[in-house]
Symmetry: C2
Subunit: 239 residues, 2 copies
Amino acid sequence: MLAGWTPRAALGHTGRMWQLYQFPLCPFSRKVRLLLSEKGVEYELWRENPWEGRDEFFAMNPAGRVPVLHDPERGISLCDSRAICEYFEETVDRNQMINGTSVQRAEIRRLVALFDENFFGDVSGPLLHERMTKRLVYRQSPDSRVLREAMRLAHEHLYYIDYLIDHRPWLAGSTMSLADLAAAAQISVADYLGGIDWSSHEQARGWYSVFKSRPSFRPLLSERMEVIQPPSHYAEVDA
Amino acid sequence: MLAGWTPRAALGHTGRMWQLYQFPLCPFSRKVRLLLSEKGVEYELWRENPWEGRDEFFAMNPAGRVPVLHDPERGISLCDSRAICEYFEETVDRNQMINGTSVQRAEIRRLVALFDENFFGDVSGPLLHERMTKRLVYRQSPDSRVLREAMRLAHEHLYYIDYLIDHRPWLAGSTMSLADLAAAAQISVADYLGGIDWSSHEQARGWYSVFKSRPSFRPLLSERMEVIQPPSHYAEVDA
């Protein structure tokens, strides 16, 4: 499956097609997909459920996690979403997403880590565990206490985004960066799982709605994870 | 406190002194300290217990985590250990630690993530929680079931290091890299907390003992966390 058409000249590896191992609600795979799409790098989607612990998948990534970006021709497997993003920053000039002075680049990477680690640990990770893993893997009901705490912490993260957008056009500064992609990827998964209450977050909602209308984001919003349905506002650009 | 003498010409920011906010058993601060020392960047150690939630500390890093590297003269705070390491790779040429082709750099970053996330999540994180945080913060006893599981998983990680060192001189390839610093930082904390059984890990032990004798590592091994003592072999170079 192609992630949108891109001119051949814009490809990082002309004639070669990367295979992205992922599942639809993985926020780290979403970050990589947004970056690849913004940079015009073509890739195929390969579905991987890391919780099934497939031997062939562990052979590609001993950490047992998605995303993995595999190039069968060269026999290369890139693992870890931040390592993958740095790789494409280094090899594809188009739409630089870790840009500016060293201090500005450190600020972009700080925010990427904040969303990859803190937002995921506080919000999208617990939501995925309660609403997806428990349902698909353990056949258990979600723990409403854990869900409430994740939604409470989501508000704190959205207040921080409100604050940043009060001071800057984009999360890390004057231009769109990997920080925006990382944040949007995490938030989109939390939003799919019903964990985001947008009321009282005007700035964050404005920033996110601009994102939702980007061509790189549309394919993500149209995908569905089996058995789990998103709320009605999830894929609406004006919501 | 100085982290060893370095010639002025080798400093990334001559005449300026970075302040590193950390506590002695933070594996991420240890990784940054190893990198700064290998690169000859001077810094002062500032003690921070992130679990105390100091307002001034949260103002520097909204994620509330160490390490933070602060430059009071420029009013800059660098947060997140990987962002800090990338910053010094970009600004200080000496002893490049994310080196080689883009694929090799991706391999270094994959392994850094493996130790920062998987080893920490499986081994050093649970050990720190059970043996340090519970004692210092909650005044509770460690859960022996959690400790046993962390030590079991430590063996799996050491087997992977054995495997890597069977195929390469250093973890990510032919030269020392940030992957070695990240792994040694995590392992040193787990070893301090009695979580590492070196028997049956000849390759990993050989690699680690070379590391322990490096000038960048010696200051770390001589420090002690209040009330918690390491096992006798911890700081011995030949152990």
